[in-house]
């Protein structure tokens, strides 16, 4: 059976803090679960934003197979 993994990405200061740019998970229930699994249980910093499939989401948002989950700090463009 084809496995649809979950892609997890970290950006900017969170990429440096976790030491991870991208990783894949076999399963994750929520964004919080993806954070926990990808970081090996690292406590979540106070200000972390989550995007699922390029849209902002909450930490308790459900994840399904094939999703892309991204974690990043407050944005500072412009």
């Amino acid at each position: 059976m084809l496995s649809m993994s979950i892609e997890v990405k970290f950006f900017a200061s969170l990429r440096e803090k976790t030491g991870i740019a991208e990783t894949t998970l076999e399963h994750a229930q929520t964004a919080a679960d993806a954070w926990y699994q990808a970081t090996g249980g690292m406590p979540k910093p106070e200000k972390v934003l989550v995007a699922i499939n390029l849209e902002y989401a909450d930490f308790d948002a459900k994840i399904t197979a094939g999703d892309e989950v991204a974690f990043f700090p407050p944005v500072t463009g412009g």
């Binding site: 200061s13 390029l54 991204a70």
Partner: protein
């Protein structure tokens, strides 16, 4: 309607003019633009350079979405968003927003809305080079 991410120096007023040339002559009565550029200071410290990182798929998606939302709120003939990424030097332009409409209010209001939304939501991050080392900028100024 157009959004672009650029990884090298750009001339904002040249891009604005080039884009305006693509619009039908006589169709617009107003063009409002915003150009954001890099300061050589921040929070009372000198800043000699900057790295601008982004989340490529999400920035492309998000800038297109912002333009669509602006066009739903104001009767715009066209708009243009250009944002720089990569290594940036003081005085380099970082962002260009251009809005064209038949009358001034739509162009002015949409331009102001777009830059505030971009600064609050679009996934870009700045890392400054200061005399004491590099530092991620933690938040944008709110409406300054």
């Amino acid at each position: 309607m157009s959004s672009q991410i650029i990884d090298c120096h750009f001339e904002p007023y040249q891009l604005l003019n080039e884009h305006q040339q693509t619009l039908q002559a006589g169709s617009f009565g107003a063009c409002a633009c915003f150009v954001g550029s890099m300061r050589d200071f921040n929070d009372n410290a000198s800043v000699s350079g900057m790295q601008l990182e982004h989340y490529p798929q999400m920035t492309a998606h998000y800038l297109d979405k912002l333009e669509q939302q602006a066009r739903q709120q104001w009767p715009l003939l066209d708009c243009l968003i250009v944002h720089r990424v990569g290594a940036i030097a003081p005085n380099d332009p970082i962002v260009l927003i251009g809005c064209w409409s038949a009358h001034r209010r739509a162009a002015l209001e949409a331009c102001a809305w777009l830059i505030e939304e971009l600064k609050q939501r679009a996934p870009f991050w700045k890392k400054e080079t200061r005399p004491d080392g590099e530092r991620w900028v933690e938040s944008n100024t709110d409406g300054h």
